[in-house]
Symmetry: C2
Subunit: 425 residues, 2 copies
Amino acid sequence: MEADSQNWILMVTARAPTNIAVIKYWGKRDEKLILPINDSISVTLDPEHLSATTTVAVSPSFTSDRMWLNGKEVSLASERYQNCLREIRSRGKDVVDEKNGNIIKKEDWQKLHLHIASHNNFPTAAGLASSAAGFACLVYGLAKLMDIEERYQGELSAIARQGSGSACRSLYGGFVKWIMGKEKDGSDSVAVQLANEKHWEELVVLVAVVSSRQKETSSTTGMRESVETSELIHHRSQEVVPKRIVKMEEAIAKHDFQSFARIACADSNQFHAVCLDTSPPIFYMNDTSHRIINSLERWNRFEGTPQVAYTFDAGPNAVMFVPNRKVAGCLLKRLLYYFPPDSSKSLSSYVIGDTSILGEIGLKSMVDIESLTAPPELQKGSSHSTYPGVIDYFICTRPGKGPILFRNEDQALLNPKTGFPLESS
Amino acid sequence: MEADSQNWILMVTARAPTNIAVIKYWGKRDEKLILPINDSISVTLDPEHLSATTTVAVSPSFTSDRMWLNGKEVSLASERYQNCLREIRSRGKDVVDEKNGNIIKKEDWQKLHLHIASHNNFPTAAGLASSAAGFACLVYGLAKLMDIEERYQGELSAIARQGSGSACRSLYGGFVKWIMGKEKDGSDSVAVQLANEKHWEELVVLVAVVSSRQKETSSTTGMRESVETSELIHHRSQEVVPKRIVKMEEAIAKHDFQSFARIACADSNQFHAVCLDTSPPIFYMNDTSHRIINSLERWNRFEGTPQVAYTFDAGPNAVMFVPNRKVAGCLLKRLLYYFPPDSSKSLSSYVIGDTSILGEIGLKSMVDIESLTAPPELQKGSSHSTYPGVIDYFICTRPGKGPILFRNEDQALLNPKTGFPLESS
């Protein structure tokens, strides 16, 4: 039977992680294809805590491509979506839909319309790379739907890249490098996995979601203005980053936390320095971000070697890395001492994700937080401040795996009968 | 009669201005001699509003060198004071003290002790380059006391430089360049006047003193750490600054406010970018500084050409330049709209210095500030915030003249009979 009946719907559901860069991507050499001016390296975060889930469906009954994000319809008109959809469709294969007894021929993908529903398991507005997870999930899901196998390593990442640059890095778990590439068509600007999520299993990641009422410059606008006006960005991309990439790969390969921390912190700060060197200047970090850094740097200096690495993307949130659970406990105690929740919050809404570390350090309730004492790096009797309420919440997580396909239809965000969003999404 | 009686005291009183760099000095190539890694350019501020007054006295009755700053004795033991005193003493001339009928021979300056009293007409702690005015005034006053004429242009500035780098620029009024120099002994690292204070008389300067509870990194420590750890500072000093110096000199010569503003803002932001690129990173600007910049950039963008230039030194205070009194009125209205005083303040304590502009724009009391309306660059109906109480006060001033000697003994800060501080100082 051929794909001529109007009644069938074929769909798949996938999940893709976010990632956080430890060598930053900032600046494009091609705005349309999203080709960067330097390589970057990221850590993929556990999708259990930070990921996008996307259902993609195809049906002859669909009259146009449509998308729902977190239950709300969004436009697919942007060049970025259109580029991803075009690139993916052109690679579609003959698909045998055994359940419905259909065959979709590869040329059919050009005509058939798609319904897409996507959902993030974390607040989209929190500035946690939701577009990276979203585009990675979209491309990965569509590739599964259309039975696309990569003709060369990283082909799918090069498609996701055209949706959102950093999305290419979310196609792999663990530690990922986005190679800037040389080709004009961007075909060699792909992500490669440096090591999977098991490689450095001890690593703990802590995200501080910082309250902000400032409207931030979008990273697309920001990096364009940096490329056009910063006098430092080219020195960074050409002279500084290439050396750091080599050293960061080495640090990851050797589980060398000290080097990892030094490079990650320096590179985050340099990215924000380039933002400041932009005209008009771009400020992503705020006073709370500065205070987080000061408290971490004070601890690192006191201990003589880096205990914690930090990195900030295009917003005030801190992403922190510690080498193991023990140090994670020390970090959490410090952060909860300096940045306690405001009195209206419960501990379980203030620290989320893998909260088992809280138990290990004996923090069970708000009373335990209130009785935390000043860390030893604060000199006795020296005046210092604590900042209640300036952090919204913390997420405890770890390096995680790449995109997966859900075998179970329970995870679908579209109704398998209608192809429209389920009410629950 | 020779200088052998123990009773005489010879003293002079001088005043020296502060200055604000528009091309920043950040980084030394010689820590001891205070030799910079790039040229810098500054505007001298009107000493009426921001200056140091210093009385220097010599007497055979003094048993040691002593100094009082704002009425409180301070130590002269630091290398910086010792270098200035040694350099100045070695250049002392034979002085005929006609009033007392003494002759001080040039070799006597090595043996005679000095009393020094200095006073700033603005809060020392406000981060307004008090050390620049202070060391310039000390060196200038001592040179007058010891009848020292410069053997080469800028010789005194090279001495003041050894007290505090930027002090060398406070030895001239108007627009001043500190030439980094090439010599190992620093003899050619001197300040030169580009134009005097009459050259661009229309220029108005507004200082916003920003409240800060953060302890800031001293600029001495900060610039040393930047030189040691920043990967961007050398590119800045070698590639970026030399070109900006040429353009800034041209802008000043031609009264080209647009170029002046663009370069000054870019250079201030780049200096802070280098601070961020330092390990550990240095934050001098805070959220209030960022908000000031955002409001000024929004206005400049709305008008299409720069209305206002801003620059920030090693602290959160903003120094703003506008081309004339009319634009100064527009600026003040905006600043008082976004950053009103908290309710406990009076207008006369919130805007100080040359407050005549307030009258010109019809602001006579706090009620007038409360009735200010949103500037046109804020889109109608768009949400925006105002920030009461985050600025301590504003100082309205202008480019000013260099150091002067007070002929009138009334200005002295030391008792002419005892050589000790007057109670009033």
